[in-house]
């Protein structure tokens, strides 16, 4: 098992390199290449300023070097292992070791990209981690229900409804939910945008009874703000996972050991949730790998609609500002996260399925 995990980890390296290569060359091969977006800010400059800036950019990105060399120096600066002194042109010595990855600086916000992402990433992760367990719990329940009543009206109708749910575009659901449920004209049940109330800083952490009656406190306020975004993010995965779990449970429910368990007189509940469910987990684990990147992408839309300052909104802002470093880095981070989820799913699979030998 350990050797399998180690080999799986080693296989990550070429993929990771490939991701950096892809991201870099998308940018480098675009019309105008690396320099096009950088030179945008030069329109109103005096000649000496422009010269100084160009020299700085050339030094920073090695623009006078051929593309492969540019790629290598970019790779060196973003990787945690590499040659030190990477900020100024090509390194003079070959001192290789651990260093802090340098993702560059945002041109629009004039801040280091690494810090920006670290600031925004937790919100995206919070959204995703809140919606995943929710989606799994609901999906497993509906999946079991549908599988038990297979072929009956409930199953057929729920199948179609789930497919419809899966087909509802997040952009539509988000706009409608926001329009109808946060609007004084219709129902004002939830806050329109943001992660906290304006007065959230003055709130106590937990709900309490204050002089003005019930105060919801910071925690409840945040949860209240999260309801609609999490709902938007999870309904698609609920539908998708329900289909998967229905199929998985149908595959196991007709197997011999389930019949044996029933024949022994084990209660239907135990049969379903212990015998059947545990053995239908594998497909649910496998799709986790595909689900996480999809959720990350979904959070771009959800964060944009509900004004949450997460990584998804960061990337949209970055594209609108033509902020090159920021776009590259967010895509890189998203790719690394996606890769990690693949790794996680593979290892989880190896743990959950003792039948498969990986030697």
């Amino acid at each position: 098992m350990l050797s399998y995990i180690l080999r799986r980890l080693l296989l990550v390296v070429p993929t990771l390199l490939g991701i950096t290569l892809l991201v870099f060359f998308v940018m480098a091969l675009s019309p105008g290449g690396t320099a096009a977006d950088l030179m945008r800010g030069e329109a109103g400059m005096r000649p000496e300023e422009r010269k100084a800036r160009q020299e700085y950019l050339q030094k920073r990105y090695g623009l006078d070097k051929p593309l492969p060399a540019q790629y290598l120096r970019w790779l060196n600066s973003v990787s945690p292992v590499g040659m030190k002194e990477s900020g100024t042109g090509f390194p003079s010595g070959w001192r290789i070791g651990l260093k802090t990855p340098d993702l560059g600086e945002s041109f629009a916000l004039h801040r280091p990209v690494g810090g920006l992402i670290l600031e925004r990433l937790p919100i995206t992760l919070l959204l995703n981690l809140a919606s995943l367990p929710l989606a799994y719990a609901i999906a497993i329940y509906t999946g079991i229900k549908a599988a038990r009543h297979r072929g009956e009206l409930v199953d057929v109708v729920s199948g179609t409804v789930l497919l419809a749910l899966w087909s509802i575009p997040v952009i539509w659901a988000g706009v409608l939910l926001q329009g109808y449920l946060t609007n004084a004209e219709y129902l004002r049940w939830f806050p329109t945008t943001g992660l906290h109330d304006l007065q959230a800083d003055a709130m106590t952490f937990l709900p309490s009874w204050g002089p003005r009656g019930f105060e919801r406190g910071w925690l409840l306020d945040t949860l209240w703000h999260l309801v609609l975004p999490v709902a938007c993010l999870s309904y698609g995965s609920i539908a998708f996972l329900s289909k998967i779990s229905r199929g998985a449970i149908l595959d196991t429910i007709s197997s011999d050991y389930v019949r044996t368990a029933r024949a022994k007189g084990v209660s239907e509940r135990v049969v379903l949730y212990v015998h059947v469910f545990r053995n239908s987990l594998l497909p649910l684990i496998t799709v986790l790998a595909h689900l996480l990147p999809a959720l990350l992408a979904g959070s771009v839309v959800v964060e944009t609609i509900f004004g949450l300052p997460g990584m998804g909104r960061l990337v949209v802002e970055a594209v609108n500002n033509r902020d090159r470093e920021l776009v590259l880095s967010t895509t890189l981070v998203a790719g690394v996260l996606g890769l990690l989820s693949y790794l996680l799913a593979d290892i989880g699979y190896a743990i959950a399925d003792p039948r498969v030998s990986y030697e």
Binding site: S30, S167, I171, W172, L176, G179, Y180, E185, T330
Partner: protein
Amino acid sequence: MSSQALQSPGFPPADASVADAPVADAMPRSFARQAFADTFGNWRARAGAMWIVVLAFLAVFAPFIASSHPYLAKVNGVWFSPLLEHLMPVDVVLVLVAVGALVLLPMRRLTWGQKAGLLLWGLALALPLVSWRVIYYRGWAPGKESVGPGFAYALLGLAALVDAVVLAWVPIRLRLSGKAKIVLVAVAAALTALLIRYPVDPPQTIVYERYRTLQQEGKVEWMLPAPVPFSPSDRLRDQPELRLTEPWWSAAANSPAREHRHWLGTEVNGADVLSRMIHASRIALAIGFISTGIAVVIGVVIGGIMGYFVGKVDILGMRLVEIFEAIPTLFLLITFVAFFGRNLYMMMAIIGLVSWTGHARFIRAEFLRLRNQDFVQAAIAGGLPLRSVLFRHMLPNGITPVLVAASFGVASAILAEATLSFLGLGLVDEPSWGQMLEQARTLGKFTWWIALFPGLAIFLTVFAYNLVGESFRDAIDPRIRKE
């Protein structure tokens, strides 16, 4: 239909001596026919297919359904047809292809290959005839504004070359009968004569409010307007008070919106929402089909090579697949869109370029299964070239899972375009459902008609493709068919 489809595998095969008899229902059907019958045997898939047909109809005839230009008008005693005068080359080509397809489809004497070939040939004939004036006099080229004239003209040259090859090669390849040849030449000559006599040459400046002004001045003696009398870019410059109005049937009794039949209201700039939605179906379908086509081609080539060669090639290929799958598609799309232009063609190419991995996986799995089978070994032993082994012998036997994936792929391509447009990273001027939804988001106040209807169109289309795709998958799934 469904009961028949269920029975037919159990039917005894028809008498083999009647070899010349046309394929009747009593014969055991081919796999493709059976799968087709099973797919559309349930009402859900049929409903989905119906919506796609409606959408295709709207897309092809959009300028005839929603246009500010009336079909026919009589002004100062002169009859003229503004709608026909304003048709763009692409409108004419679409209508010609649709009519051609409708005429060819029921012809039983032609094989499917011949039908497709004839349609392709007609397209190759019509394209230059329809577009040469716009290209020659106005210097139009695909995507000239965003990718630069050099690339655009190179693309145009390439297109011309392909067109010439198709024109010359398809008639030789088709092996038509003598009578069919005569009919073909006659139709082609008639089409050419018609398009030369009435060239497609839309005016460069379009004044949409012209007809409304003329009508107000009482100069119009007779007029036959289009069913939805607003063009998608008709921003009602003569009626600024009608910007952002509700649908007329829900507006208050005394509001100006009551007098003008904007069935689904107007958007920020004053354009009619229904008209923009009808025209947007064109972009949705085009993006769906073309980018999925690109994805399938890339996926089939890479997946086929992986599955056929196994070993090192396979490991390398799977890493490539993993790279593209690890980066969330939307992030990849956003990155591409950020650095490349934002026009329709680029969008199709980009969406195709990021969504081929699923197809590659399917084809790889199929080819891994097929490569050891006797007929493939025989083809290799027979000394056939690799191209022939891969694409003539293996591909037809392994394409079905990809077709299923493709119908889901069309849905996700449409969704991808809508999402990009929604984020403000999509097309700028052309109407698109996602872009209309974006208006609903950025407006500051909730305008339910802009939020509801375009989103509904996206949903119905995506749902329709998913319904068909799911039914198709169930139809070819051996585990389900067995039961």
